[in-house]
Every structure is written in structure tokens, then in C-alpha cells.
């Protein structure tokens, strides 16, 4: 029953049955067909690709998880202790944006892949297991202002199917990825192809909030979204992974963030970002953008891109920050914009304010969950803050005099989890010396 036609629409044209063995057989055959088309062959795929399928073939095939996995993607051996370019860019499947309380959420997923958890000054690699089905992520921002809120609010996800819980509840890890900045995510497992509902709970943000953010983000909000998972799609995502030129692998630098802002639905995105891989309307082999309800890739408001724009995940460049410029410093390959603000509401009564905005060096993503302090002519612990004007930063009320000097100390590096390319940077972070100009 297998359809040999290479220009299938992504759906297996095979009869579905309820028997797990025959479902496995179907997947094995269609996955093999797709993989051979993409030119990424494994021995098992060769054997199974005979234009037909029997249960025996499937049993030998060992199932789609073993035919192709992220493990076969090349990695950078010996990356530098800096932000570096990985070997490839991951294709995402974007789901519909969901409004939940004060937040706008953008769930998306890709194939399961490794990431690094931070425990203090150590990055611990997390590799997916064979059961993992996808790397599920949620980007979120303030629906009112579009501001990114890159902090751990202790979010939680529960996956259900037909009202029954699937697996354990999961608190997704706050994470940083070159393609998309701050988000939370994890590798998750679902037992089978199918449609699942994800119930997401966003909890109040406990980080200091100032300006128009004072008193906001204090509610527990719930959102649900649906996702359709198929092993075949996972294989297609793998097969459609876009590689960088080999001479770029491991080079200091970063993948450009996926650009959503100017995206026009009815056109294929230009090659600014390397093409198909970062297209937010991932359709595998399908080159025409069909936005039917069935495939769930609908963009809510695709006319004026009003409040449903996906905001930039980057912080403003240093030049745009107010106050006295105390330099942009570097430590552990992160850039630290340091400013001294007088007469600002951010400071305690009668004091001025030291504002430090750490960011990734190339994409200017915020670096949350650090512990920073200053020591020298002024001593203070900096407090992580979300301000409606200045965004994410670390600050303290201080009073500085011309000629003052102090060290900006990283007591612990950003604990946010890292996608590939960020796991060797922002770990060893020596103190930076800041001098207040004499005049």
C-alpha cells in the first residue's frame, strides 16, 4: 500500500489500522521513503526502501527511532570557549500563538536534541533518550508591549490526550538558543503519532519588576494548545536540517535569529537566513504554503501584523541605553553594558542607579539568572530586574563619584540552559574593572 510517489503531501497514503505492529510497519516504510528522497541514507533505510512493506520488513527495520536520529548530525569537535556556530540550524514547527493572561505564547518544536543544563559553573549535557519524541519549546512575551520576559517563572506543562494525562508533568527549562533567544523547553516523549493537548501554566514572575511592569505578571494563567506529532514529521525535520558551510563550523559567531517580523505568508522567505530551515511554516517537502486549518500552521492575524507580531528576542544595542556610559565590558564572551543613571525611578530615594545589561555577543540576547555584584569604591549586590523601559538588566542603587573604580563580579554565571553553540560561553567569567571617568 505504500505510495512510492516522491511528491506526496507529507501524509502517508497508507491505510491506518489500530495494531501497533502495523503502525510501526507503516511508519518504517514511509519514513524510509522520505529519508531516501532527502539523500540521507542509512543502511536500514536502504533495505526497507523496496517500494512495499510487510510486517517482517518493519521488524528488521527496527522502527523509525533507530533509522535516523539527531545523533547522526555532525557536531563541532572541540568548540572554543566562546559563542560558536554549530554545524547546522534546526528547523522548527511553529504552532499557533496563544494569548494567556498578560502573555503571548508561541509554542514550537523540533526533533529531540541535546542541550546543556547549568549547575553553578558547570554545564551538564543532556542527551535525549530513545523515547523522546520532540524538543518542545515556548517563547513568550508581554502581549501589551511585546517585551521579552526572560526569567524563570516556574512554568509547567501537562500533556494530555483525550482527557488523559500522558507522562509526567514537566517544568520546562529556561533556555537560550541562537535561533530564538530565551524560551523554555525540554525534550518530551509522547507514546505515538497523534494529536495531543498541552496544558501550560505560567506562574507569577517573582523577579523585581519596575516601571509599568510593577504589579503586573502576578497571576497564574493557564493556556492550552494542540500539537500533532508524527514520527514521519520528525524524520522530515531531521532530513531538512540546514547545514552551514563546513568552514563555519565551530567558528566564533552565532546563527542569526529567525526573523519573524517581516515574514509574509504567501512568499517563501528569502535566503537572508539560509533558506528553508528557519522558515516558520515548516512543511517538510511541501514548497507551497498552504494555510489550512488541518495542518495547524495558521497564523492568527496575518494582516497588519499588529499585536500578534513576534517581537525581537534581542536587547537594544549599547548605544540606545540612557545614562552615563561606563563602557561595554566583556567576560566569558558575554557583553555587559554598564550605565550610571541619575534621577531615575529605578533607584532608591536619594540615590542613583547602576544598570548592567549582560547580553550574548552577537545576537544581544539577555542573560538571565546570573548573580552579579560590584566591589571596590562601591559595594553592592545587583538585583535582576525587568523594567518596562530598560528591559531585563541587573541593578543596584549606588552613588558614584568621578574617578571611582570597581569590579563587576560574576558570582555565578547565567544558569539558563543552553542550546548548542552557547554551552562553552558564559561559564568562566572573570571580574571586569569599571572606571568612572574623572570629570
Amino acid at each position: 500500500m505504500n505510495d512510492d510517489n516522491p511528491s506526496n503531501d507529507g501524509e502517508p497514503t497508507i491505510e491506518h489500522t489500530n495494531s501497533p505492529l502495523s503502525r510501526r510497519a507503516l511508519l518504517g516504510a514511509s519514513a524510509a521513503a522520505t529519508i531516501s528522497l532527502a539523500g540521507c541514507l542509512s543502511d536500514e533505510a536502504d533495505e526497507a526502501d523496496d517500494g512495499g512493506t510487510t510486517d517482517d520488513d518493519a521488524a528488521d527495520d527496527g522502527g523509525p527511532e533507530e533509522t535516523q536520529s539527531f545523533d547522526e548530525l555532525p557536531v563541532v569537535e572541540d568548540p572554543p570557549d566562546k559563542v560558536y556556530k554549530p554545524t547546522h540550524r534546526e528547523p522548527f514547527v511553529h504552532l499557533e500563538m496563544v494569548e494567556a493572561g498578560e502573555y503571548m505564547l508561541l509554542p514550537h518544536f523540533t526533533y529531540p536534541h541535546q542541550f546543556w543544563l547549568m549547575s553553578g559553573a558547570e554545564a551538564v549535557e543532556e542527551r535525549p533518550t530513545v523515547e523522546d519524541s520532540m524538543h518542545l519549546m515556548v517563547a513568550f512575551w508581554d502581549s501589551e508591549t511585546g517585551a521579552i520576559l526572560p526569567v524563570d517563572a516556574g512554568a509547567e506543562m501537562v500533556i494530555t490526550q483525550d482527557g488523559e494525562q500522558v507522562g509526567e508533568p514537566v517544568a520546562p527549562w529556561p533556555m537560550l538558543a541562537q535561533e530564538m533567544g530565551f524560551h523554555f523547553g525540554d525534550n518530551v516523549a509522547v507514546p505515538d503519532d497523534g494529536t495531543y493537548t498541552v496544558e501550560l501554566t505560567m506562574n507569577p514572575i517573582g523577579v523585581r519588576k519596575t516601571g509599568a511592569f510593577e504589579g503586573r505578571f502576578e497571576e497564574t494563567v493557564n493556556a492550552t494548545f494542540e500539537l500533532e506529532y508524527s514520527d514521519q514529521q520528525r524524520q522530515e525535520l531531521l532530513a531538512n536540517t540546514e547545514f552551514l558551510d563546513e568552514d563555519e563550523w565551530g567558528e566564533p559567531g552565532a546563527l542569526e535569529p529567525t526573523d519573524h517580523g517581516d515574514h509574509d505568508h504567501d512568499e517563501h522567505e528569502s535566503d537572508d537566513h539560509g533558506g528553508h530551515g528557519d522558515d516558520s511554516h515548516e512543511h517538510g517537502d511541501d514548497d507551497s504554503h498552504e494555510h489550512s486549518d488541518e495542518d495547524g500552521h495558521e497564523h492568527g492575524n496575518d494582516d497588519g501584523h499588529g499585536s500578534h507580531d513576534i517581537p525581537s528576542p534581542s536587547l537594544p544595542p549599547a548605544e540606545e541605553y540612557p545614562g552615563q556610559d561606563l563602557g561595554t565590558h566583556t567576560s566569558g564572551d558575554a557583553a555587559f553594558v554598564v550605565r550610571y543613571l541619575e534621577g531615575t525611578r529605578l533607584a532608591d530615594e536619594g540615590e542613583n542607579y547602576l544598570l548592567v545589561s549582560p547580553r550574548t555577543p552577537h545576537n544581544r540576547f539577555p542573560l538571565p539568572d546570573m548573580s552579579l555584584s560590584v566591589d571596590g569604591d562601591v559595594e553592592a549586590e545587583l538585583v535582576q530586574t525587568l523594567d518596562s523601559d530598560q528591559g531585563h538588566h541587573y541593578g543596584a542603587s549606588v552613588t558614584l563619584e568621578p574617578g571611582d573604580e570597581f569590579d563587576l563580579i560574576v558570582e555565578s554565571p547565567p544558569q539558563v540552559a543552553r542550546h548548542q553553540g552557547y554551552e562553552t560561553a558564559f561559564i568562566e567569567m572573570p571580574p571586569m574593572t569599571v572606571e568612572v571617568p574623572d570629570e
Binding site: G120, V124, V151, G154, E168, V170, G206, Q384
Partner: protein, 418 residues
């Protein structure tokens, strides 16, 4: 709920599942499975402590002298149906005495407490001596709040006994352990919602997790008594019973009880974290660095070693280590002399097919619990709400309940006007 299939489970697991199912059919299956077991010792209602929560004298201890909870637990919720008058009070008291005659006061028999919620007191028109439950941290906005009138906590090393005792209370078993029930709770109380069950003891979590298809790393020791892999209930980390006993007022000699039911994510805990991280997050970064704990806590004897320097360092560790431990945080709420305010009798659960814990705690006042729970939440620390903040990444609070555990003399429909 249908009975589990005996072929799919080990015998111990099967018995566990029967407790989870409950009811007369489960009881019958349990009896069938263990014919010819040693006779369960009967009891003497005239020889009981004045405090319902005073179990310590009859609990077993481990090799280090730490007390061990009974293996099987049932939390039976009940709704008041009848009038709380003298006649009902007498019937209820006779029911409990009958149970005390049927089973020895020990883990070989049955241990039980009868606990009353604020809903009960409101139902009888009195001002509740404990507050209504509410979310206590900022990551539990959706929790259920217990509101059954009464909760009976039953515990025994024998799954058959604990099931049979429950059925006897409900009037479904007229001769538990061969001893006639003089009364039952029928017509005064009706079973409420949700019924909860659990287990605790060496080896049980591994056994049960396997049954549920939870992946276990080699590092998880077969003998771990709790699902998260570590021993708990160290003597130095538990309040003595006197510390949790109400010492004045109408319910002097009683206690309060808080139950926090939570779900676990064991996949992240075991498959993503390594042993070093688990120790650091359960105890403290120093415990991990100095290897103070061992695989399941076997290097700790009667103390977790967190009180004092390690607890005092919590805020600093948050900044310099980027990570703090659960025990370290909670120990900040101990009394000045190091006495913990809580007597924890928590146990594992697989209710609803989900790995979890019913965290049952006795304390003199609910405010004691709140204080410890806030210290454990560590929201004052320079850390994310869950990330690297003890075990908060892996636990999900689902419900809370507050109860009065009256002294034994007032366990039957207590009222201040008595």
C-alpha cells in the same frame, strides 16, 4: 475501578495496587492472596496514648535508630451526614474502639488518626481552630483544596489490614481480624473525595516505578525508600512528638495536620540530573561536593547535617553556587536550638498512575507548616522559581488540606461546647 491483574505485578506490587483500588472486592482479593499468613495481633483500646498522633513509641527503627513509618497508608475522606449529637458521638467513638480492639496498636496492627477540617467546624457552626487551606507559594495557583469534613489516616505494614480496617470503619466488614465491630460510621459519615493511598519503605519505590514503566538509572538503589531515591525521616530532622502537640486550649494534647499532595517528574530528576546534582538539590551543594550522602543517604546516620552552617549559607550559596538544596532551605525554619517544627509522615504514591508524594505533616500550628514551606520555597533567594532551587523543578503541588488532629479523648465529633 477494576482490580489489577495479578500476572502483571510482583506480589508486593499487586498488594500495593489493591490498596490503591480499595473496596470490598479488593479486600477479598487481598485475603485470597495471603491465606495462612500469621495472625494479626488484636488490640486493647484501654491502653492507648492520649494523643492520636503519638505513634513513635510503637514504630520500628532502622539500623541508625531513625523511626520507620508503616508501609501502607490510606487517607480516607468522609463527609458528615448525620447530626453531630451525643448519640452519633457515641456511635463514632464505639467504631474507633472496635477498631482498636481488632488490631494491635503497632505497624503489625493498625495505626490511625481521625482528623477534622475547617469544613467540619463550619458545618457544626463553630469557628474552625485551623485555617482553611490555600496556595502557599507562587507556583501553585491551580491547586485543589481539601474540603471533606473528616480525614482518617490509616497505616499498617500489612496491606490486608489497612484495607480491612477501612472497610470495617465504613460498615462493610463486620468482623475485622475476627473481632466484632460494635458500631460503624454508617449514617454519620459517608465516604468523600478524593481517597488517597501510598506506600513507603525500602525497595518499594523501585518496585512500583518499574511497574509503571518509569525509567530508572543504575544509580537508583534498589533499597531506596522514597521515589526520589534518598532516605528521609532522619531523627535529627524530625520534630519530637512533644514539639507538635498542642499545649493549651480546648484541643490540648492534639496536633494539626497538613497534607500536601504532589506529583513528581522523575524523568528529569533521574535521567537529566546526575547523582551529584541530585544530592546538591536534595541536601546542599556542599553535601554533593563533600560526598556526605552516599547513594541513598546511607552515609547519614541520624542527621542530615544541614542545620547550622549549611542552612545559614543558603542565600550565599544561591549567589555563588547558583544552586541550593531542599533540606538546606527548609532547615532555615527550624527553632533556634535546631528543633524542626514538623513531624513528617509522608509517603510515596502512584494514585492516578502518576508518581507522587502525599506529604503529610503534623505540627503544633498550621502557621508552623507555612513558615517551613515558605523557607523551602526559597522565593527570597536570588534564584528562579524552580531552576536550581532545591527540588522545586521536579515537584508539582496538586492539593492542600489543613486538619485538626484532636487528642484521642476528643476524636469523635469534637466540639468546643462539649
Amino acid at each position: 475501578m477494576t482490580l489489577p491483574s495479578i500476572d502483571a505485578h510482583t506480589r508486593r506490587g499487586y498488594l500495593k495496587r489493591l490498596v490503591a483500588v480499595g473496596g470490598t472486592a479488593a479486600l477479598a482479593a487481598c485475603v485470597e492472596l495471603s491465606p495462612g499468613d500469621e495472625a494479626v495481633p488484636t488490640g486493647d483500646p484501654t491502653n492507648r496514648p492520649a494523643s492520636q498522633h503519638a505513634w513513635n513509641d510503637v514504630l520500628r527503627s532502622d539500623a541508625d535508630g531513625n523511626l520507620l513509618a508503616p508501609e501502607h497508608h490510606i487517607l480516607l475522606p468522609l463527609e458528615l451526614e448525620g447530626e453531630p449529637d451525643e448519640r452519633s458521638r457515641e456511635q463514632v467513638e464505639q467504631t474507633f474502639r472496635s477498631l482498636e480492639r481488632a488490631y494491635e496498636f503497632s505497624p503489625d496492627g493498625v495505626l490511625f488518626t481521625v482528623n477534622y477540617s475547617p469544613a467540619y467546624f463550619e458545618a457544626i457552626g463553630e469557628s474552625p481552630p485551623i485555617p482553611r487551606p490555600e496556595p502557599l507559594t507562587s507556583i501553585e495557583g491551580n491547586i485543589d483544596l481539601d474540603d471533606a469534613d473528616v480525614l482518617i489516616h490509616l497505616a499498617s505494614d500489612s496491606p490486608q489490614v489497612v484495607l480491612e480496617a477501612e472497610e470495617a470503619l465504613l460498615g462493610n466488614e463486620p468482623e475485622p481480624n475476627g473481632v466484632e465491630m460494635e458500631a460503624a460510621l454508617t449514617d454519620i459519615f459517608a465516604p468523600g473525595d478524593p481517597r488517597r493511598t501510598g506506600f513507603v519503605g525500602e525497595g518499594l519505590p523501585v518496585e512500583m516505578a518499574r511497574e509503571e514503566g518509569i525509567d530508572l538509572p543504575e544509580e537508583l538503589h534498589e533499597d531506596a525508600p522514597f521515589l526520589m531515591g534518598f532516605r528521609s525521616g532522619f531523627a535529627e530532622a524530625q520534630a519530637p512528638e512533644s514539639r507538635v502537640t498542642i499545649d493549651d486550649g480546648p484541643y490540648e494534647g492534639g496536633s494539626t495536620m497538613h497534607i500536601e499532595s504532589l506529583e513528581l517528574n522523575l524523568r528529569q530528576w533521574f535521567e537529566q540530573d546526575d547523582h551529584f546534582l541530585r544530592v546538591a538539590q536534595m541536601f546542599s551543594p556542599e553535601h554533593a561536593q563533600e560526598e556526605l550522602v552516599g547513594e541513598i543517604g546511607e552515609r547519614l546516620d541520624q542527621s542530615t547535617g544541614v542545620f547550622g552552617d549549611i542552612a545559614d549559607r543558603t542565600a550565599d550559596d544561591a549567589r555563588t553556587e547558583g544552586l541550593v538544596g531542599h533540606a538546606q532551605k527548609a532547615a532555615r525554619a527550624r527553632d533556634e536550638d535546631g528543633t524542626p517544627p514538623l513531624l513528617r509522615r509522608d509517603f510515596n504514591t502512584l494514585d492516578g498512575g502518576s508518581a507522587g508524594v502525599h506529604f503529610l505533616s503534623h505540627q503544633r500550628t498550621i502557621a508552623d507548616f507555612v513558615r517551613v514551606r515558605e523557607a523551602m520555597a526559597g522565593e527570597d533567594l536570588s534564584l528562579g522559581r524552580r531552576l536550581n532551587n532545591g527540588i522545586l523543578q521536579y515537584i508539582f503541588v496538586r492539593s492542600r488540606g489543613n486538619y485538626l488532629t484532636p487528642p484521642r479523648s476528643l476524636r469523635a465529633l469534637p466540639t468546643e461546647s462539649a
